[in-house]
Symmetry: C2
Subunit: 305 residues, 2 copies
């Protein structure tokens, strides 16, 4: 699956992923009103609003970017209807030729991690039948529980040609509380990185592994070190734009082949119409504002890599 | 909420929680056949089977135990119908007077963690309305992202009188890969424990905090140390029974007041009818086998504490 992602990145010349993290406050008034008109101010109404909002953006950007990253929390908060909107969004994106990175940050042990792995990436068995459920192409995974939590995902990655991105160093201000703690002089995130490389060796798919990692754009000095230590690991980089990471920071996340990283922007793209820079599009043309923000982001990133 | 949990533990004299982690392979043939008869071998069929299975067990044990801990992965793997069964199970358990600990191990940052917190413990806002969604009483939380990931849960705990159990030292064999790494001579799980105590101070509810922790029954020597370091932190202890933790190991998890810990068993209870010890009940009487296993477990634990 990483090979497919690289092909799409190369074809579109865009190492960029659009984060579909729809807060209701991002959804333009007219979209909210239409959804609430049909379903009321209910969970179903909220789910319809975020689905229509997503659809508008996906239609506007699907020719520009290789991938999207829906953040499941933003859907899960609206319960069953919200999760149905997550699934519908993922399926729609795949129909439009986009690779779907489920930002689910799951991680548990043994049969429980296996259940997450089959539910998000693989196929679940019911009697004599089996079903793809959420059917993302990649999922993000939390490593705190160690190999027991990650290995069931590796099995599914191998069987189904899917991939994962394991959290190493997250983009948030407090990520250092545990991740930066030094063990014999080596920060924990580097130890996690070493394990990611080890897990990744089992899952090579061309020059890179189907086991990637997450390193925040807000920590480029750490990104630089990890990039060298993990030459075959694709890096999913959140934190560009709204969280403070700049394109200049991002050069270090790429290998010399210009590959090795894919940069995520969520709010900066999907709520672009709220920014002064794109306000001229107006709320009704939010999707065109997102399209312009994607064009600008790709240009910005490509200057840096 | 921890005060309420303690009241129920005291009333029932049972520091025990039943883990509702239904694998389809645990569901007796007659329950599967009835569900598949109605819905076919579909996700809906699987969801119906685990819901009916759960209902049988809950009806058989709800007078004996204070709480249940549904593991969301086991439902999520069956997609939307599975998650609906999770929600239905949680609601039914609450109707029966049980406290529901959602074993969701969520953890993200900022607004994303806030979305998980409102979705699982609080209320989500849609226009002028607000809704309780999964409405668990407690949720388990993964701390790898640091305070940014946990604080949104604390806000909801304070507003709604709910609680969380933060993973410190998990019960699985590889939990030491990261959790045991020593930082200036102190294992990472102890550093996480210190943060848990700090977060917990904001959320006191009687003698204990609404911010509890998870420490596996399989690591009693670590449990003993952490118990002393975290006198006001309730410990959710997985790993009893099937994972190898014994009642003797468990004494160290309790404070001198006989409180401070609640022991989980999942497979050992819900699949009791498959064990030689309870085989006499037969597959059709799986719920009675579970009831007997709960009675035996409570006796075993109470001898130890």
């Amino acid at each position: 699956m990483i090979r497919k992602l690289i092909e799409e990145i190369t074809k579109k010349n865009a190492p960029v992923v659009v984060g579909l993290d729809p807060m209701l406050s991002y959804v333009p008034k007219q979209v909210q009103e239409a959804a609430f008109g049909e379903f009321g101010e209910t969970l179903e109404g909220a789910a319809e609003a975020i689905w229509q909002f997503n659809k508008g953006i996906v239609d506007a950007v699907s020719d520009l970017v290789p991938a999207v990253k829906p953040q499941i929390a933003m859907y899960e908060q609206f319960g069953i209807p919200g999760l149905a909107a997550f699934q519908k969004t993922a399926a729609y994106c795949k129909e439009k030729g986009l690779i779907v990175i489920g930002d689910v940050k799951r991680g548990d042990i043994g049969s429980t991690s296996a259940a997450y792995a089959v539910g998000h990436l693989g196929k679940v068995t019911v009697g004599s039948k089996s079903y793809s459920v959420f059917d993302e192409d990649f999922a993000t995974v939390n490593p705190y529980l160690g190999s027991d939590g990650v290995k069931p995902f590796l099995e599914v990655c191998k069987e189904e040609d899917k991939g994962i991105f394991v959290l190493i160093k997250t983009s948030n201000p407090s990520s250092g509380e545990f991740q930066d703690q030094k063990v014999d002089g080596v920060p924990l995130y580097e130890l996690v990185g070493r394990k990611v490389a080890e897990w990744g060796e089992e899952c090579m798919d061309g020059d890179y592994s189907n086991v990637g990692c997450v390193i925040g754009a807000t920590y480029p000095e750490m990104g630089k070190i990890l990039r060298k230590q993990l030459p075959k690991t694709y890096v999913l980089v959140p934190g560009y734009g709204a969280q403070g990471g700049t394109a200049k920071d991002l050069a270090v996340y790429f290998n010399d082949d210009g590959l090795g990283a894919i940069i995520n922007s969520s709010r900066g793209i999907i709520a672009a119409y709220k920014k002064e820079e794109y306000a001229k599009f107006g709320e009704e043309n939010y999707a065109e504002a997102s399209r312009q923000a994607v064009i600008d982001m790709i240009e910005d990133i490509n200057r840096a890599r």
